[in-house]
């Protein structure tokens, strides 16, 4: 079995959190993560940072905060081109809805509102169509205590159920503000079991789903726009000679047979 590569897609750093991306990445690397995304809140002055060192990558990200759906769409447009991961600070009915209806959004973070789980069948359908991942921020499970945690767990359970039914991508994050808020990948998977996520779902929620987000936002060199890609560069690269021959010979053969 190939070892999965794990990613934590919602980590905060100075000035939004307590540590620098470098400090947090030391521990994340020790825990066996392949990368983390630094997603500071957009209402706090900080520039998205990203770097790569010894097989560990810190991705540029942002957590967009707004109270107004139309302003939110504007902010998404403003930040989209500069970041690898675009997260929406959810938790409000209108914002949740605006987030799942925008194709440029990668993750809807902590959608749970004070009253309910923040997700229903309509939002789930949009999220599925627009490929917006629903976040399960595990910090509220391991840091919370008492009634609040009880509510969080039941909302998470409900969201897993809805996401499963409508095939919405799920993502597990730590939402860490300090390196003490990070948890190792297998601990995250164990925590996800508390609200009914199956092991394989949890593994993909912390490995393939975040990897897919990164791949989607870092298109290859020939990319023009969604669905349109220039493939000349690929044809010219390795083991392409056969393809070229085939392409050339096909019309000729057709001509002969006619």
């Amino acid at each position: 079995m190939v070892k999965p590569k794990f990613y934590d897609m919602n980590v905060h750093s100075i000035p939004d959190g307590k540590n620098t991306p470098q400090q947090t990445s030391i521990l994340a690397k020790h825990f066996g993560y392949a990368g983390i995304a630094i997603t500071n809140h957009s209402n706090i002055e900080s520039k998205p940072t990203g770097f790569k060192s010894n097989g560990f990558e810190v991705f540029k990200g942002i957590e967009v905060v707004s109270n107004n759906p139309s302003k939110l769409h504007g902010l998404i447009g403003k930040y989209r081109r500069n970041v690898d991961v675009l997260v929406i600070h959810g938790g409000n009915e209108n914002i949740n809805r605006a987030a799942v209806e925008n194709r440029n959004v990668d993750i809807l973070a902590h959608p749970c509102t004070p009253k309910d789980s923040g997700l229903n069948h309509i939002l789930a359908k949009s999220a599925s169509e627009n490929n917006v991942a629903i976040e399960f921020n595990l910090d509220s499970v391991f840091k919370g205590r008492g009634g609040r945690r009880v509510h969080t767990l039941s909302y998470f359970r409900k969201n897993v159920e809805i996401a499963r039914k409508f095939d919405v991508p799920m993502i597990l994050t730590s939402n860490a503000a300090s390196y003490f808020d990070l948890r190792a990948p297998w601990e995250m998977i164990a925590l996800a079991g508390l609200f009914g996520m199956e092991k394989d779902e949890a593994i993909s929620a912390i490995s393939t789903v975040p990897a897919g987000i990164i791949a989607r936002n870092r298109p290859g060199p020939g990319f023009i726009r969604e669905g349109v890609e220039e493939i000349i560069e690929e044809v010219n690269s390795k083991d392409s000679s056969i393809d070229i021959d085939n392409i050339d010979s096909e019309p000729e053969e057709a001509g002969v047979s006619n």
């Binding site: 540590n19 400090q23 030391i26 521990l27 020790h30 825990f31 499970v141 391991f142 840091k143 205590r145 008492g146 945690r149 300090s178 390196y179 003490f180 990070l182 948890r183 190792a184 297998w186 601990e187 164990a190 925590l191 079991g193 508390l194």
Partner: protein, 120 residues
């Protein structure tokens, strides 16, 4: 009393862990916090089913014992430890084994506990 024959004994798993902490933590402090956190997450009934026991704890690393079908729940429960005596801590499970010797040899012997010196 005669001890139970092997087939009737409870099967167990041993979790090797390291504790990443701001300041050194004593065994008693860890025990108190561990049972309070586990109790708050899974309650008395869940704790009794898990059968969590702190076996050894030295130099910020040690072994926890639990029921063999409850490793996931035990893992989740012990990761909810966030503070001990007002200082930040973080438990990292290094591996799970069926015997104490296995856990010690594979995961604890000769392993340098992660220190935050590189970070601070």
């Amino acid at each position: 009393m005669k001890i139970l024959p092997p087939t009737l004994r409870d099967k167990k798993r041993y979790l090797a862990f390291e504790l990443i902490c701001e300041h050194e933590v004593t065994r008693e402090e860890l025990l108190r916090e561990m049972f309070s956190c586990v109790g708050s997450l899974i309650g008395d009934v869940g704790s009794s089913e898990c059968g969590i026991r702190l076996l050894t704890f030295e130099d910020s690393k040690g072994i926890i014992r639990c029921a063999h079908k409850k490793t996931g729940l035990t893992r989740a429960a012990v990761t909810t430890i966030t503070h001990i005596s007002g200082k930040r801590v973080l438990m990292h499970i290094l591996g799970i084994s069926g015997t104490i010797a296995g856990a010690t040899e594979k995961y604890l012997e000769g392993i340098e506990v992660f220190t935050n010196e590189g970070i601070e």
